[in-house]
Structure formats: structure tokens, C-alpha cells
Symmetry: C2
Subunit: 456 residues, 2 copies
């Protein structure tokens, strides 16, 4: 257990802050986001509710786009792809595309949402370790800018399909470099024991490149690598990028084909509790530009156009979940001391990350200021399961009581996108707020929605 702390106060501009940038404490002591008081949000829209700070999300998208454009200006340029898996309702790919991002999709559903959002096919990348024929055909017909090939068998499948459709498919080859990163460190092995990609060390990546080059229906755009998630230390990216650039130079040398692009994936960490300082987009961009510049010079190959794929780093900090407190129960601990169990009206159905990844969150009393002493608390949900925990350890004011509102920051990514109907609890809506206005971009589910699937 980490030492429990109180949620930090809103601090726009502080990279360590888990709050989106329009979150403020009002004169009354309540929180406001996007110019809307959380008390009004709860009164009008009910709880639990995901609140998405549109200005914040757009600003994060723009910051990435600008940082990469600037850092790669003297190289061959860069593109920033939004990873839909973090959270994609139609509004989100539309916003990020308006801010200059491209969009990653990995299923038919994500492709449909991106297209409905008005993102042109050319600005889309299709990922996936197990794409169906239907998904591939849909992507090709939509004219996606790239299909990231994930297995040797996929080379011929995509080539055959492109041939049947009379198209040429732009592809990348996903390479596993043995670099795994996450948090403050990375590890490096020869082989990766995971479902994605083709091994660099084992020769499968090179075999796939050769197979692509043998098929005239395919255009080989470049190599792709993704090294992990919630990454705070950038050195793993440098190692992986250097390895991919060496393979690119080797292929150019031996086949005469210099791949024009290089995708270094995503996985940039965010601040969940205020304890960690995630890497700023401009530092990510200059770090990656430096390694591309240096390695290209050493290898004597012109630098590629680079792409990256942030998802969490764009949507995560832009969202918070607003809950209403129900039962508050003190539990005496065996070693002495006490833990306050603060139950809220949601739980593991709207945020599975605490149970799934032992993820850390924080929570703040949101409807008022309190000067009561802070006590060791655990924010739990209403599900019929003892592992139904939202925030494992947090200090909350001792006077938190039924009817209070709690805000849990940094739930914009992997919150609604991984939500379930466990215990037949309808999923909360996603309320976009901006400049004092609010509207649901995903409406709250109703019991009728749940029962609509039930044929009795």
C-alpha cells in the first residue's frame, strides 16, 4: 500500500495535477469543471456521471500535435494518432481530428465511430492482432491510411483482399523489439511473450517485411512498435526506436526499399493521484526526435516520418467521475486503527481499473469544503463483491456523509470504454462540459436499455 494522501487541489498547468485544466474550487468550496458547478451537474444529470472537459481534451490533443510538428520540423515530420481504445464516442475522434490528430482504430466498432465522426479514411490506422475479414474489407473500402500487420499470415490475407477489391493497401509491420516499459522503468528481453507483433530477434519481423515487399498489392509504409502503457520514463522508447531504425536501414541496404515512415506507438503515462509527473508532450517529442536524428545520421539513412499514438495521455486527464456518497462505515482494522469505507453509487462497473490493474486513484470531496481532519478512507462501489473498490487508499475529511459528492479525477480513459453492466447496473453517461455548457455525448443507460437485449 502506498501512503494514502489527500487529493491535491486543482492546479491548472501543473503536470502533476490529476485534474483537468478547467477544474476550479468555487467561492462556495465546491468543485467546478468546464464552468459548471458539480452540484448543478449532479442535480441536473444525476450521479454517477462521467464528466469530460472538452477544452482540456482538445488542448492535450493540440499540445501533442504542436510538440511533434515542432520537434520533427527539421526531420521528415510527424503525425500524432489518437488511440480510440482509451475512449471513443463520436465526439472524441471529431475533436481530436479538429485539433490535428489522426486516429487509431482496432475494431469495426472503433472504425465506425471514427468514420461517423468525420475523420477521413486517410487519417485512420487499423490495428489488431486478430482482425476479421469483414474489418479488413471495411477498412480498405474506407481508404484507411495504414493497416498495421501483426502476423505473417496477415500479409497474404490483406494482399489478397486488396487485390480482390482492386486496391493497394498501405501497411506497416508491427515489430516486437523486446523492450517493455511501464511506470518509471523498462526491461529488455530478446523475445516477447505476448500476442502482438513480430519478433525482431527471431527474424519474424524481417520475414514479414520481405513478404510484404513480394506483394504488389501492398505498399510498405514502415515499421511499428508499441512498448507498453502508463510509461513515465522515456528511455525505453529510445532503445526501441534505435532498434527499428537499424532494421529499416538493413532492409534499405539489402532490398533497396527505404521505408518512409516509423511508428513508435503510445503508452505515455498520466498523473492519477498527483504523485507522478508524466512526461510533457514536448519532452516526449524532442526525446524521440533526438534519437531519430542521431540514429539516422549514424546509419546514414534519411530520417523517416514519425508517428506516435497517445490515447490515455489525451483523454485520461480530461475526465472525472462524479459520485454521490451513500453508506459510510468505519471498520476497525486488526492491527488497530480504523478505515472508513465510503460507498458511492457506482463502482467496478464504471471503473474496473482499480480491481483489474491495482490502479491508484484519488478522490476529493466535491460539493463543499471541509476543515474536518483527514481520515484513512476507501472509496467502494455498490456491487455485490468485496473487490469492488474505486480508490483503495485516500485521506478524506472525517465529516464526509451520505449525500456528499465525490470526484475521482483521471477517469477519461479506460473508464466508460471498459464499463460493464455488472449487477445489472446501467452505465453512466458521458457529459461533455465546456465554457459553462454541458451536454451528454454518450447518454446514460436506462434499465430499459438493459432489458432491450433480454428476450425473456
Amino acid at each position: 500500500m502506498s501512503t494514502p494522501t489527500t487529493a491535491p487541489e486543482p492546479a491548472p498547468g501543473d503536470r502533476r495535477s490529476p485534474w483537468s485544466r478547467t477544474v476550479r474550487r468555487t467561492a462556495d468550496g465546491s468543485l467546478a469543471v468546464g464552468g459548471r458547478d458539480v452540484r448543478d451537474i449532479a442535480a441536473e444529470h444525476g450521479t454517477p456521471v462521467y464528466v469530460l472537459d472538452e477544452s482540456d481534451l482538445r488542448a492535450r490533443a493540440r499540445t501533442f500535435v504542436t510538440a511533434f510538428r515542432d520537434a520533427f520540423a527539421d526531420l521528415a515530420g510527424a503525425d500524432v494518432y489518437y488511440a480510440s481504445k482509451a475512449f471513443a464516442s463520436v465526439a472524441v475522434p471529431r475533436w481530436v481530428h479538429e485539433e490535428g490528430m489522426h486516429v487509431d482504430v482496432s475494431t469495426g466498432g472503433e472504425l465506425a465511430v471514427a468514420l461517423r465522426a468525420g475523420v477521413p479514411g486517410q487519417a485512420l490506422a487499423l490495428h489488431g492482432n486478430n482482425k476479421s475479414d469483414a474489418e479488413l474489407e471495411r477498412a480498405l473500402r474506407a481508404g484507411v491510411g495504414r493497416i498495421v500487420l501483426d502476423s505473417l499470415g496477415e500479409v497474404d490475407r490483406v494482399a489478397d483482399l486488396a487485390g480482390r477489391l482492386g486496391l493497394r493497401a498501405p501497411v506497416m509491420v508491427r515489430v516486437t523489439t523486446g523492450v517493455h516499459a511501464g511506470g518509471h522503468d523498462y526491461i529488455s528481453t530478446a523475445h516477447e511473450d505476448q500476442k502482438f507483433g513480430l519478433s525482431l530477434a527471431g527474424g519474424a519481423a524481417r520475414a514479414a517485411v520481405d513478404a510484404v515487399l513480394a506483394r504488389p498489392e501492398l505498399t510498405l509504409l514502415g515499421l511499428h512498435s508499441h512498448i507498453g502503457s502508463q510509461i513515465l520514463d522515456l528511455s525505453g522508447f529510445e532503445v526501441a526506436a534505435a532498434a527499428l531504425l537499424r532494421l529499416r536501414a538493413e532492409v534499405a541496404d539489402q532490398t533497396g526499399t527505404l521505408m518512409p515512415e516509423l511508428d513508435l506507438g503510445g503508452g505515455y503515462g498520466i498523473s492519477y493521484t498527483g504523485a507522478d509527473a508524466p512526461p510533457a508532450p514536448d519532452r516526449v517529442a524532442t526525446t524521440l526526435a533526438d534519437v531519430v536524428r542521431r540514429a539516422s545520421a549514424e546509419l546514414g539513412t534519411p530520417p523517416p516520418r514519425v508517428s506516435v499514438e497517445p490515447g490515455r495521455a489525451v483523454a485520461g486527464p480530461a475526465g472525472l467521475t462524479l459520485y454521490r456518497v451513500g453508506t459510510v462505515k468505519p471498520v476497525v482494522l486488526d492491527g488497530g486503527g480504523e478505515r472508513r469505507y465510503v460507498s458511492v453509487d457506482g463502482g467496478m462497473s464504471d471503473n474496473i481499473r482499480t480491481a483489474l490493474y491495482d490502479a491508484e486513484y484519488t478522490a476529493a470531496l466535491a460539493n463543499r469544503r471541509s476543515t474536518a481532519p483527514a481520515v484513512l478512507s476507501r472509496v467502494v462501489g455498490k456491487h455485490c463483491e468485496s473487490g469492488d473498490i474505486v480508490v483503495r487508499d485516500v485521506l478524506l475529511p472525517a465529516d464526509v456523509a451520505p449525500g456528499d459528492l465525490l470526484a475521482v479525477p483521471a477517469t477519461g480513459a479506460y473508464g466508460r470504454s471498459m464499463a460493464s453492466n455488472y449487477n445489472l447496473v446501467p452505465r453512466p453517461g458521458v457529459l461533455a462540459v465546456r465554457d459553462g455548457q454541458s451536454r451528454f455525448v454518450v447518454r446514460p443507460e436506462s434499465e430499459e436499455d438493459l432489458l432491450a437485449l433480454d428476450l425473456g
Copy 2:
């Protein structure tokens, strides 16, 4: 890592078998369930699909009901409640009620489904650590047979509400005894660091009992305890039951009120891979009856009517998930050797338990027999996440290829009920099979269903 094994062949009647009892190998070598060949199911209904063996589920319900009726015949009788959280579409509470079970619900959604299934209010129990006023009112109006009180504050809330509605509310008090069980063992502590219940050792349970007795709007039915989940060893139940019976006798002695009932919760384990022998319902029933008989005699109190709450043990083994194989990829491991990554057309969105609880499953080639050598395999999904694993370690025939069908048994509980739309993947339907007939009790979601919630 456990030593990987091959999925056992169907063995109806074998308690170690993870397959539901109508699963057979056909002469062709394919699997059939409920008299339907999985090849036909896949062709007609698509994959992935949850297949629910109605006869098996009904038989498990009936077995529990009969076992408890018989074991407690010389005591004050027993009731068996189905825990809806395991899986509840309208069909399931209807089936289990037809077989003699009562039904546990813990949310408004579960209550709505049970009522729609035709289960009378009197046969329902309402659980939950954080019931809303709306849920309590709905339950009282439906005339539920019991409300399980989970905190001190709830005593007055329920009493006040019952008073306003002019009703008398039958309640139980959920007690934490310090006994935690799961798998082959149990532990015992003084205090329980969890959100549910009222502490026996700390005196909160007794305080709640006294508070209930002070409110004429409440009828105190008895004490309740739930000690864990996926329990294979029954000794934890004996310890918890004895503790509750002592508190019951103490309350009778000091207040003159002898509580007529005792609920010992659920949590009975099932076989997921064939490695474990779960306790048979008749052994569960006789074990619990023995401890109730013995403790009541020692305490000199008439035995209570006993209730238990299986969920997983009824629905879990009745379900299997049928997937179609896509990408098959060999990955060389660092220590030498190779792992076959077999990708299927579902994944962590339809079965989160492998990632969430490190749960073990097995998988069998379902559309044909194979004599190919068995190789170390991992069944993974199609989600954009390396933790998207369905079966961590299993031996599968080396010739498993794209287009083959895989069946994963024991997914009837906590499969569909915890499913998400991660990566915007529609959730599979639940196909009930029986005597050669099949019909969807929950229809498959479509992309349109997903987009219906999206307001753009």
C-alpha cells in the same frame, strides 16, 4: 504458472468435469451441447456466443434444492437462493424458481429482472452495501421476503421508509465473522477489512440487532454471513455458522427474541479446468446441517431455518463460450521453447475473469477431433491490450488453425454479467440450448446498439 493440461473430454456426472452435462463428442468429433452441434450453432448464430445449457442449469438448481430440503428435514428446513449477480437474464431466475429456488438481488436492475421473470416478491432477498432509497422502496413495494441490512445507518433508513409506506420490513443483519474462504483453505481474523457487513468481534453486529429490535417497523428474521467465493473447502462455513449461532443464542438469552432464520451465504466453488473437485451440493447441505444441529443442541436453542445463496455453482458450469480461431502465432520464449498464441474473435470484453482474478480456464478444439500433438498454447482475444488473455495456459492440438472453433467451459457465471464493450466490441448473445432446440435469451448486441447511446 500451473502445469498446462489439455481440456478434459466431456464426462457427464463427473464432478471434476468443467463441461455442462449435455456436452458430448459427436461421431464426427465435434462437440455438441443441448443436442446441438457447435458447428451448427456457429453457422447459424455466429461467434463468439455464450451457450447456456438449460437442462444442466435446471438440474444444478434442483440438486441444491433437494439436497438442502433433505439435509434439513429434521431441522427447521432450508431455502436455496440463486445469486443473480452470477448471471441473470429474465430466463434464469424463471428457470431456477421453477426448480424451487428463491432469488437474491442486489440492485434495482436485478430486482426488475427477477420480477419480470415472475418470481414472487416473497421469494426475493435484497442485498447490497449501498442500496439507494429508490431500490429500497421498490423492494418494499414488491414485498420482498427479506432485506439484508449491511450497515447501522440502514436500520433506521429501512424502518423509516417502511413506516412511510405503512409496511413491516422483514430484515436480516449481515455479520462479518472474520472468516474468509476461497479455494482449498480459509483464514480467520478478528476484524474484516471489507465493505460488507457488521463486525461480530467489534460489536457492530450486536448493535444492529438491538437497533432492529427497537424498531416496530422491522421484523428481525435472522443473521447473515457470506465468507468468500470459489470455495472448495467447507470448514470455513462451519466456523462462521457456529459463530452466528452463538450470537443468535446470546440475543435470545438477553432479549427474548429467537431469530427464526440463518443465512450462510454462497461462494461454493466450481470446476474450471478439471483440476478441482468442487463440493457436491449434498455434501454442502449435510455439512451445514451437521453444524447447525450440533451447535443448536450445544447452545440449547431450537435450530433456525437455514438459507444459502449459490450463484456460480448453478450457472457457471452450465455455460460455455464458443469462439472462432483467427490468427495463430508461434512465439519463441526467452528460455527456449515456444508458445502458440491462438487468437479468438472475442476476449477480455466477454470474459474479464482471466485478467481480473488470474482465473484459470481451459479450452477445447470444438469443431473436430485432432490427433496432432498437443502444444503449449495461450488463447487470447482481439482487444488492443496485451493482457487480453482468455486461457493463460492450455495444451491444444498443434494443427489448430484459423476457422477452427474453440469452446471454453464454465463461463456461465461472471461471463456475460461482467462483459464490456471494450474496443467498441458488441457483446455476444446468450444462446439457451435444450433438447436440440436453441434460442437467444439475451440477443447479441449490434454496432447499432452501441451507437444508439452515442449522441455524437
